[in-house]
Amino acid sequence: MPAYRPINRRHDSPATLDSQQEQDRQQALTLAASVGSLMVAMRRGGLSGLAFGALSGVLAYRASTGRGLKGAGTDAVRYAEKTLTGHRVGPLELSASVTIKRSPEDLYAHWRDFSHLPDFMSLITDVRVAPDGRSHWTARAPDGQTLEWDAEITADVPSESIAWASLAGADVPHHGEIRFIPGPPGRGTEVALDLNYTVPHGLLSAAPLGFVNALSGEALREDLRHFKQWMESGEIPTGTIQSTPRDGDSI
């Protein structure tokens, strides 16, 4: 078992324990590298020491902005294995959580109508719900590729949780669950989202790589952040700047 208790379910599975250990190892390595170069800097003194110190500063900054080094995410992700061609195959588990200042009842009701999801899920462009409860989903990957599949609700506890799964024939079979847990007094609701994809094996399979590559714990977390922004403030913020002459430096 993990030493701490996140609210997402995936952390309980042995598979995720591996990914947690891998994450811990990566974080330890990064920290060691930056502390190491700092210590070299202190030992050496003088100009070369300053240069080493500067390097560790740059590393820390790069890491913190996600430029150059992979940022240490807190979401549990088990990446699918990569084939020789670098394509992911196999199971891919994603989870993320957020606290939203609305009641579990409100959040459940909004999510339960899947046609709302395109408002805040970045890859989902359209969800149509049929009278029998089944739904037809359309997604668009960053590379422009479009995917469609049908899904059905597999479990439904009003104000608490909703689980759904894609039906046979989906290009990327998957199932998901969202849970709405009352937070501490005055804080609203803790929302935990878990998604589990099966990325098809085989070089010749029709695996939609643009879509699969867009799946990440960080992307899922952004989607949940957009859900929170939508439910708390009624809109998703944008700082989009009007076009300006863009010549010069950036820092």
Partner: protein
């Protein structure tokens, strides 16, 4: 429209850019009538804040006339004169609800980047890096204002642009620096930095009933402004000497106690004397630290036991040699944060309307938006005793 755009270190230009548009239901478009250059804009100008991209429109202190409203804004009408908080806040999240508007959960579109730097993301700000949202700023003819139903405040006719403008940032920022300190009768307040924020911290300390206020700076004209405007004691840091000598001077001025409240109204570009300043300057230029925390060190070292160190000055990244031993062993309290402008706007506007304070006292220069590049040069060099520049588009 015309706008002041950042194009690199010490490279501000007045560019012709597209007019802003309504993008979200709660947006408004404001025609700017007055805008100011802030000391924190100098951190962008000098290249000390990461997350700037060439062409970014700067400016977070601005006011003007409502010219267009999104469908979700029903409490304002076109033609009204408003002053706009520099902190962008949704008004509906846990933090906005608790009066911590600068910590709004929802207003930073680039929250994920801020989380990597700081663990959690504060609110978005106008014209202040992509880490804080990449919002176009207000040193322009027009500006898009998000959450216009909770941010902008209508300015009474009896209050002029120059009296209202500093409610956007520096007046509430100076005020919060004192108001958050649980000041007790007789408390001695020391304020490092007699720039605009320091001047308003000093004014606010007097307004809130401080026993004594000691103003500290390295620029004689700014100390003179503090003395003449607020009748407070002053300490010339350059003449006094290094950190140890300043701490000793403050101890001597308070019969050994040290100031009860120490305010760092300087932030990451502090100036000092001697080896310590040289050390921080080199490290900063090599990116080994992103701040020169000279004032913060002095404030911690000088502060009375169980006193409060308040930090309205802006920091972005890392600082070192912070006397954490003094902090711990003297049981100090640290109060800091960007300003919860929306929280203070109404009471401070009332003070201005009643004539308790005329915030226009800090203005030393008035110019046109077209002259912004020269105004930045002058302000950075503190030439011509420049404390605050107001520009009109």
């Amino acid at each position: 429209m015309k706008a002041v755009c950042w194009h690199g270190v010490q490279d501000m230009r007045v560019d012709t850019v597209d007019d802003p548009k309504i993008l979200n239901p709660r947006d408004a478009i404001i025609r700017v009538t007055s805008t100011a250059i802030c000391g924190s804009d100098l951190h962008l100008y000098g290249g000390f804040m990461p997350g700037m991209q060439a062409g970014d429109i700067v400016g977070h202190e601005f006011m003007g006339e409502v010219v267009e409203l999104g469908s979700g804004v029903t409490n304002l009408s076109v033609g009204q004169r408003v002053v706009v908080p520099f902190t962008i806040a949704c008004g509906q999240c846990f933090f906005c609800d608790s009066g911590y508007h600068s910590l709004c959960d929802n207003s930073n579109p680039n929250a994920a980047v801020a989380e990597k730097m700081w663990g959690q993301s504060p609110a978005g700000l106008f014209g202040y890096t992509h880490i804080l949202g990449g919002y176009a700023g207000g040193q322009a003819e027009y500006v898009r204002v998000p959450y216009a139903d909770v941010g902008p405040m209508v300015v009474p006719d009896s209050v002029s642009d120059e009296q209202a403008l500093f409610l956007t940032d520096i007046f509430p920022t100076g005020y919060q620096a004192i108001a958050q300190c649980d000041m007790q009768p007789g408390d001695v307040v020391a304020v490092w930095g007699c720039g605009p924020v320091g001047q308003f911290a000093i004014a606010s300390a007097k307004m809130l009933g401080a026993g004594r206020v000691i103003a500290i700076d390295t620029v004689a004209e700014r100390l003179l402004m503090a003395e003449q405007q607020h009748g407070v004691e002053t300490l010339d840091a350059r003449q006094t000497g290094n950190t140890l000598q300043i701490v000793e001077a403050l101890r001597d001025m308070t019969a050994g106690r040290g100031p009860d409240i120490c305010v760092d109204a300087v932030g990451l570009e502090a100036h000092g004397v001697g080896l310590e300043y040289w050390y921080d300057n080199i490290k900063q230029s090599l990116m080994m630290e992103t701040a020169r925390p000279i004032v913060l060190r002095q404030a911690i070292m000088a502060c009375r036991k169980a006193g409060t160190v308040s930090i309205p000055g802006v920091y972005g990244g890392l600082a070192d040699k912070i006397p954490v031993g003094a902090l711990m062993n003297k049981a100090l309290t640290i109060k800091t944060g960007q300003t919860h402008v929306q929280h203070y706007l109404k009471p401070l506007m009332d003070h201005v309307e009643r004539g308790d304070i005329d915030p226009s006292f800090v203005i030393t220069h008035r110019t046109r938006l077209d002259d912004a590049p020269e105004a930045y040069r002058m302000f950075q060099a503190k030439r011509d005793n420049c404390v605050k520049v107001v520009m009109q588009p």
